[in-house]
Symmetry: C2
Subunit: 189 residues, 2 copies
């Protein structure tokens, strides 16, 4: 863990405010007040409001891409790859719930980096879908509509940022296990 710089503090504070009200509704003066300084002072540390959003979203998106690449290259079964995806989401989200909110809700306000973000997201979903389809082909997974399966899993995983902060008693591993169970085995007795 490197020492948190003033810039990091600003980005983390911004992520928290963006989570509460969204990127567009948070002003540089709001952010400055939360940091205990004046708006103009922020610019000693960051280049623009847009740069803050970029810093928050792109690094997380790249974490997902790297994680998915490792999973898809592994030799595990497709079901266990899905469990690894659940772990990946739980871990990344646990480490940065506020940033995950921006990634989910404010990606469309990216400017220069919007195309890059969308490319990462499309590739991620394509990999996810491949794993599901191969799992169906090998009879590990029920022969349902693969896109419905992905949609159902992915939306749950993408919403973890809303839920993890409410459950501080539950550690990341326990949550990932329970969630895998529900998502994969269903709830019917």
């Amino acid at each position: 863990m490197k020492q948190e710089t003033r810039k990091d503090e600003i980005i983390n504070t911004a992520a928290k405010l963006f989570k509460e009200k969204g990127y567009s509704a948070v002003t540089m003066r709001d952010l400055a007040t939360a940091m205990g300084m004046k708006a103009a002072s922020l610019y000693n540390h960051i280049n623009s409001k847009q740069d803050i959003l970029k810093a928050i979203i792109i690094s997380i998106a790249e974490d997902f891409t790297n994680g998915m690449n490792t999973i898809i290259k592994s030799e595990a079964s497709n079901i266990s790859k899905l469990k690894s995806i659940v772990d990946l989401h739980v871990n990344i989200t646990s480490n940065n719930t506020n940033g995950m909110a921006s990634l989910n809700n404010d990606w469309m306000h990216l400017e220069d980096q919007l195309d890059y973000y969308l490319q990462l997201r499309n590739e991620y979903e394509a990999s996810f879908l491949i794993i599901i389809k191969e799992g169906i082909f090998s009879s590990e997974i029920k022969n349902s509509n693969p896109e419905i399966i992905m949609f159902s899993m992915l939306t749950t995983l993408r919403s973890l940022y809303l839920w993890i902060p409410k459950k501080e008693d539950l550690n990341a591993n326990d949550l990932a296990n329970s969630l895998s169970e529900v998502l994969i085995e269903g709830i019917n007795n």
Copy 2:
């Protein structure tokens, strides 16, 4: 179906824009341009930007409350109540995907009606949880963490607005059935 008034057109157009960029990022001038008029002219039909948001969100929230009240009063099994909840979400979302986006993403920008909205939401989630807990008690549902089950189902259902517009080939009934299957039976073979 009543004739769509000019006010309705404005609200529907606003919902579409809010879905794309969020409430805060859409200006009255954006909305006016999309309507083919000047911003000031909007005020012949609506009272304020905030009133548009209120009109979009509150009516949908009340639809959910009414639907849930009907379900919870019924004599059906708990599993079939859950299926009815899936139907409820699929139906409401199919009829108003744009509005659902605002309900999901912009509820925090409600002003006067924020407390009322939160009350409706809390009651809805409480009812949902009761059904799951009774289902566990009667052994219809696996003895997993009821909140994880609700979280998983509800986040999937809340995200339907993103997904339904991409799948116009799939009708509401088929989607509801497939989704119930995946959510309730799981995906493991």
